[in-house]
């Protein structure tokens, strides 16, 4: 009897904070929506929450974050968005997931949406302009896609002998076409042969590397895609296994074992999404928040990878590096 009371007391003590939380009906709810899966999005989530906390919001204390993962199945996005809209969340954040942003924008014109994209959101059609996005959508544009030519240049500079260059592209991206055409244009400019490889899922990545070997590519450019960021370790491993020098779009890839990376700090973009979401929770209107663009592009070299590839990087390449991982 006494034991049961004791346990009941414990239960009560445990329930108390929950009750206290339930008594705060004003706690806003943020829908965190991506096309990806949680296990590979840890860094993004951490960055997003960091940004949110910079504006004073902490999950579980004064804000609730509802996570919705499409697990790389884009068809599921519509239902997930509908659920968030139905729950009348205060804002929907889609860090690093353009399809999610597009789906959300289609589903609601009232709930603020904060996105981040590697491409041009104006061209995507989700905002009217950089300075005045208008409507209920704003966010961060890393412009990472525009750096393809620069990456090709850096790759060619680092591996001057590479005649056949493979470009890994996410076929599901809104920027696929422009990326491919840009790659073709650059190929003729640089006098190299370009092989475009598509990978929209984990399995595709393996397939792409198989065809990469088949096509005897000398070097690889990995174009910006959340999938390639999420699968950075696998990509680095595959590249090492196939002994192919590669350039990526995000520092994290270089850290994970990729040879080089050039681009803005994508994690910082996720942090900015968190900041914007917090500012919106505080009452600012998405229409008044301009699209943020990065100011810094980092060139990171992983010398360990270079060494394992048996690659001696030219002096000019090394001199350009903002960061060298040894």
């Amino acid at each position: 009897m006494r034991r049961r009371e004791f346990i009941a007391g414990l239960g009560g003590a445990a329930a108390w904070p929950l009750a206290a939380r339930a008594q705060q009906p004003t706690m806003p709810v943020i829908g965190y929506l991506t096309a990806g899966s949680p296990e590979v999005s840890v860094n993004a989530v951490v960055a997003f929450r960091k940004g949110l906390s910079e504006t004073g919001f902490v999950d579980g204390r004064n804000v609730v974050i509802e996570y919705r993962w499409a697990q790389n199945e884009l068809a599921r996005l519509a239902d997930l968005v509908a659920d968030l809209v139905h729950r009348r969340v205060a804002a929907i954040a889609t860090p690093g997931s353009v399809p999610a942003a597009v789906e959300a924008k289609a589903a609601t014109t009232t709930i603020p949406i904060v996105f981040s994209t590697a491409g041009d959101p104006v061209r995507l059609g989700i905002v009217a302009s950089f300075s005045r996005p208008g409507g209920n959508v704003t966010g961060v544009a890393s412009m990472n896609h525009e750096l393809l030519a620069k990456r090709l240049e850096l790759l060619v500079e680092a591996v001057p002998g590479a005649a056949r260059i493979a470009v890994l592209v996410n076929p599901n991206s809104a920027f696929t076409e422009s990326t491919v055409s840009e790659a073709q244009r650059m190929a003729s400019e640089l006098g190299r042969q370009i092989e475009v490889l598509y990978a929209g899922s984990d399995r595709d990545i393996d397939t792409a590397f198989v065809s990469l070997t088949e096509k005897r590519a000398d070097a690889l450019v990995v174009t910006p895609a959340t999938l390639f960021l999420n699968r950075r370790v696998e990509l680095a491993t595959l590249a090492a296994r196939h002994a192919i020098p590669a350039i990526y779009f995000e520092r994290a890839n270089a850290v994970a074992g990729g040879l080089m990376s050039y681009g803005p700090d994508e994690m910082d973009q996720y942090r900015q999404v968190g900041i914007y979401t917090g500012r919106i929770l505080k009452g600012e209107k998405p229409a008044d928040l301009p699209i943020l663009r990065p100011t810094k592009f980092e060139f990171v070299i992983n010398l360990k990878t270079a060494k394992s590839l048996g690659l001696t990087l030219p002096r000019i390449t090394l001199s350009r590096a903002d960061e060298v991982i040894e």
Binding site: V122, S129, F130, S131, R132, M143, E146, L147, A149, K150, L152, E153, M186, E189, D288, L289, P290, I291, L292, R293, T295, K296, F297, R315, I316, S319, R320, D322
Partner: protein, 642 residues
Amino acid sequence: VNFLRRGSAAGKQGPGQRKVRGRLFLKYVALFVAVVCLALLSNDLFQLRFSIRDYMAMSTRIQQGQAEIAAAKIGQFVTEIEGQIGWIAHLAWADSQPDEWRFDVARLLRQVPPIMEFAKIDDLGRERLRVSRVAPEVVGSLADRSREPSFVEAVSNKVYYGPVYFRVESEPYMTLSVAGVRRDAGVSVVELNLKFIRDVIAQFKLGNGGRAYVLDAAGRLIAHSDLTMVLSRTDFSQLRHVRSALSGGSTGPPEDDLATEDINGRRILAAHAEIAPLGWRVFVETPVEEALAPLYEATRRTGLVLVAALILASLAGLFLARRMVVPIRSLVAGAARIGSGDLGQRISITSGDEFEILGAQFNSMAAQLQDSYASLERKVDERTRELELANLAKSRFIAVASHDLRQPLHALGLFVGQLHGHVRSTEGRQLVERIDGAVLNMNELFTVLLDISKLDAGVLVPDLTEFPVDHLLKRMDATFAAAAGAKGLSLRVVASSAWVRSDSILLERILQNLVANAVRFAAHGGVVVGCRRRGAALRIDVCDSGPGIPKDQQRNVFGEFYQLAGPRQDQHRGLGLGLAIVDRLCRLLGHRLELASTPGKGSRFAIFVPPGGRTTRNRPAPQPPPVPFGSAGGQARAHHRR
């Protein structure tokens, strides 16, 4: 002793006085508090009024300083970039190999993040190298840029600051070109991302609400503490202080109104400074509220001091008022006690000031009063004793007179009686008769004289009682019926049920004298005695049908030994003292005496007696007068009131 009573009556106004005392106390405290607080408050308000202006001016001056420092820093930001380009700008394209150029530019870009693009143009205006952070390098394109202002202006001025432009209609950029020292060094052109100016501004500690921003000469926003303001191309040029700064160009704040409004409509203090080489302006804004926060804090503290001062002043006022009022109270209380007759009372005040002197004055006054009162009492005692002695002497004299003088008179009467038996002759008997008559007269005269002397001495004290007047009237009837009948006169006494307030014995004596006179002087006709109500008084009339008294003698009849000259001279005409006694008795009793008479027809004497209550009161038996009062008017018998 009367003034003492009055004093005690004044002392009965106690409650009123206490009220006044309380008011004085409060008034004193309130006055003290008011004076102290008014002084402090007016001082504080006065200071506050000027402090607000001073503070705002001071804050504006501080902001002005901040703006100037910010302007210098931003200017420095640009000139530093200029300097960093310097070494590369002084190199001619031909001085190095293209690869070396690429190295140098790569190093420049790494060192100077705001540079988004670098281009080297030779002295002919041909582009030799273009390096971008976004786009691939272009080497030796030889594109003609000789007509661009970035080339033309730099060649002529060594440095060219291009106008601010916005990429993707959002991000501010500026072209900066530097010409080399040598002509063949050409021009180095960089595109600067001006978002980096925010980092410069962010270094300034402007407080929570403080803002700093930079506008170019056209009023476009280049940098702001909040980057989104720049990216969203917020228009600041319409703000009052911005407009005046852009048009007037005065660097100081407007003197008339220091406060203005910011983009969100908050009241702010604004200052601005020009960034010299660029023509831009830095604006620094601080909310008025924040600028004045220290002042408000000081005011709050002053308020606390004021409250403390109020409490202290109240306490001090209370203390001082107590010190003032307590001696006053003890003065008032002492004066009241002295006033109520307690002359032994002394006031004890030891405040060491005027109050103590006043208390001492009060005490000496009370002492003098006590002294004079004591001497007065002594004198009164002496006089009373003297009077008693005199009274005693008089009484003794009267007693001696009545006894010692009557003795020989009685003896004389006895001897005359004995003489009757010894004288046989008719002539002798007549003589004895006359002697007897003379002795009788003398006896009578003596009694009346004694009475008058008693009345004059004031020894007689009337004993006023209320009694029915009818008793007296009946006695008159009984006393004088026989005498009147003997003279053939009719005596009519009208009965009355009225009560009068008087001394019954003295009033009876008055009536006896009047009726006796009437019976004596009326030769024929009759005498009427009756009562009549006249106003508040009862008039007792004694009317006779005697010879009457002429008008000119009516006053004289009340004098001693006055007798009317008339045809009838008989021995029963009396002593001429009856009306004198009546007059004195009436005066003693306070009864008005009236005489109405017509010679030949008769006279009417009227006495106005106050009426008594009709109910018999339970009164103590009348006390006897100290001196016996004998009867007169032919009545030998003396009345003794026992």
